[in-house]
Amino acid sequence: MGMAEAILLTIATAATPLLLAAIGELVVERSGVLNLGVEGMMLMGAVTAFGVALMTGNAWLGVVAGALAGLLFSLFFGVLALTLVTNQVATGLALTLLGIGLSGMIGVAFVGQPGVKLEAIFIPGLTELPLVGRLFFGQDPMFYISILLTAGVMWFLFRTRAGLTLRSVGDSHSSAHALGIKVIAIRYMAVMFGGACAGLAGAQLSLVYTTQWIENMTAGRGWIALALVVFASWRPWRVLAGAYLFGAITIAQLHIQATNLADLASLPGPLFWFAGLVKSVPSQFLSALPYLATVIVLVLISRNRRLTMMNTPASLGRPFVPDR
């Protein structure tokens, strides 16, 4: 396996959980609901997926269980924020807190247990192709699921009637309601879809990324997924680009750190000089790079106000009570 291929594979693994969680949250926000509970739902997905895979020995059952756990957990949010019309921001935060605590409690017995790995796909003939083989035909199933989901969401939102309905609910729930659209029902479905996606992202963490359960193992990835949705200005393909950009910078900075200047002596002059310059940047700064890049892109995007307004679901985070 060449170095370039190895780097790309590592990036794909790092980007997949972000993409899965973000694409789900994108649908939720497109329906006008802000669910800040992504981190908590991911953790519930991760612990359930790990536990089920461990007990049954079947990683696929773990994946299904992880998605279901995320879905069920998101219903908490649904009942509170949609039916009882609580504040969405507070409810989402509460969901994250609950998820951190509950997953830790459920997972006590799983700590320190090696888990079951969801194995990468191997297609004879194709996987062995140089460079692109492993990348396109030899990754773990979660990678393909994340790409298919992104394509599916893109098609659903912009090419189907149901997608149009969902977007209309997000843009103006009163108008949608006046047209006879069941606003709350659609939002419930969106929230459950978001929960299932977050659960899948958690399953990827505990079955593929690192095959183990440790408390709070998401380490903030749910929040990054939330930021990615805004970063992408609610467009699926941009979520994909953002997740991979974030993954790429994360991995690149580790590679920069691990590379010794002496190993690069064979590089031509200017390149070597540039490598030296990059190496002289403190590692703390390099660690912060992915976040910094996100902030910069956010600033650039929000400079164009009209475009931002056009993309933002107009009813985002606003409660909907039909009878008023």
Binding site: M3, L93, Q212, I214, N216, N260, S287
Partner: protein, 358 residues
């Protein structure tokens, strides 16, 4: 955002931990920086607490209360004070960042004993500090790494550039170069104690860059698993991680706090508690090496030999001649580094192929 969550989590945990207090029991309280399920630092402290309870007569004699994931800083002060008020006879605060909070609360509760791990401030008579010489184990790992590696390069996943971590890197390199003077170490700073995903990424990156031994000073088992998947060898951290790499782990540095906790809580029960400043290592079994596995017998023998020498006090990993990375002399031939210098270590020794972040 994270701060708020931790604060809330800490408050919730406090409510749970505030259990009833009976006079005839001694109550020993623990403040942990991470979850006890991290299978690393906090996990080992909690194991030590349980061992102490067992050794001193079980639940009937000693009551244990603990708080997990208490952030270092202002929240810690509230948590420690809450414990002091709830009838704790002795309070162990188990992370460097609790140093000032511990001393501050100790001033208000002269009858309660305080024990702060890895710090150096003892402003009141009721505050002790304790730490372990983890670098002794790192030196042994360095020796093993140099003997086991065919590439001549090891990967080191580091957390933060604090003296303890720098000390570990230096000891590892000195150990490795005592076997192979050309041995190299690639250091990657994860800038976190705990992020399994990132630690796994760091391990993958290091392996892609050609290292064939991985060692870590971060808290999760992720790097061990990556090493196992890629078929190279690795060292565990804080606890025995052999389950995560049955054919991968060479050994692991195990933090064993059980003896110390037993000794100190017993002193409180007997009324003989006195202020101490403890920094102990292999000799006192505060630092224990997990069984030497997945290596040929001669490497095992070499590791056991150096371990025995450090244990008996015959050899100190930081014995001169040692040059600093910049080429100036640090220790003369036969000179041994003073503890004070080590505890504030902020430079690399010669041979580390990395720039120390300042």
């Amino acid at each position: 955002m994270k701060k708020t969550i931790f604060a809330l989590a800490a408050t919730t945990a406090m409510l749970v931990a505030g259990s009833a207090f009976a006079q005839d029991k001694t109550k020993a309280c623990f403040i942990y920086v991470g979850p006890i399920g991290d299978f690393g630092w906090s996990y080992q402290h909690h194991q030590g607490a349980l061992e102490m309870q067992e050794a001193l007569g079980g639940e009937e004699k000693v009551e244990i209360a603990y708080l997990e994931s208490v952030p270092e800083g202002a929240d810690a002060e509230r948590a420690i004070e809450r414990f002091a008020r709830s009838g704790c006879g002795i309070i162990f605060t188990t992370s460097f960042g609790y140093m000032d909070a511990t001393n501050k609360v100790a001033a208000k509760f002269p009858d309660v004993k305080f024990e702060h791990a890895t710090g150096f401030k003892r402003e009141h008579a009721n505050v002790s500090t304790y730490n372990s010489k983890f670098h002794e184990g790192r030196y042994v790992q360095g020796v093993i790494a140099a003997k086991m590696s065919t590439a001549g390069v090891a990967g080191y996943i580091a957390s933060f550039p604090i003296p303890e971590v720098v000390m570990g890197i230096n000891a590892f390199v000195l150990g490795a170069q005592s076997v192979n003077p050309e041995f190299k170490v690639k250091v990657v700073w994860a800038n976190t104690w705990f992020d399994p995903g990132k630690e796994a990424d760091a391990a993958k990156v290091l392996i892609d860059q050609g290292v064939d031994i991985i060692t870590q000073h971060t808290d999760s088992t992720a790097p061990m698993q990556v090493a196992a998947e890629r078929g190279i060898k690795a060292f565990g951290q804080a606890s025995d991680m052999i389950k995560f790499g049955p054919e991968t782990q060479l050994t692991s540095i195990i933090d064993d706090w059980g003896h110390y906790y037993t000794e100190r809580v017993k002193a409180v029960m007997d009324g003989t508690w006195e202020q101490v400043d403890v920094w102990e290592g292999m000799a006192e079994e505060h630092v224990v090496m997990a069984p030497y596995t997945n290596m040929p017998d001669d490497v095992k023998a070499a590791a056991e030999e150096i371990e025995a020498k450090i244990k008996s006090g015959e050899f100190n990993p930081f014995t001169g001649p040692i040059m600093k990375q910049d080429g100036t002399e640090w220790l003369k031939d036969g000179e041994v580094a003073e503890d004070g210098v080590l505890l504030g270590l902020n430079f690399y020794v010669a041979g580390v192929d990395d720039q120390l972040p300042q």
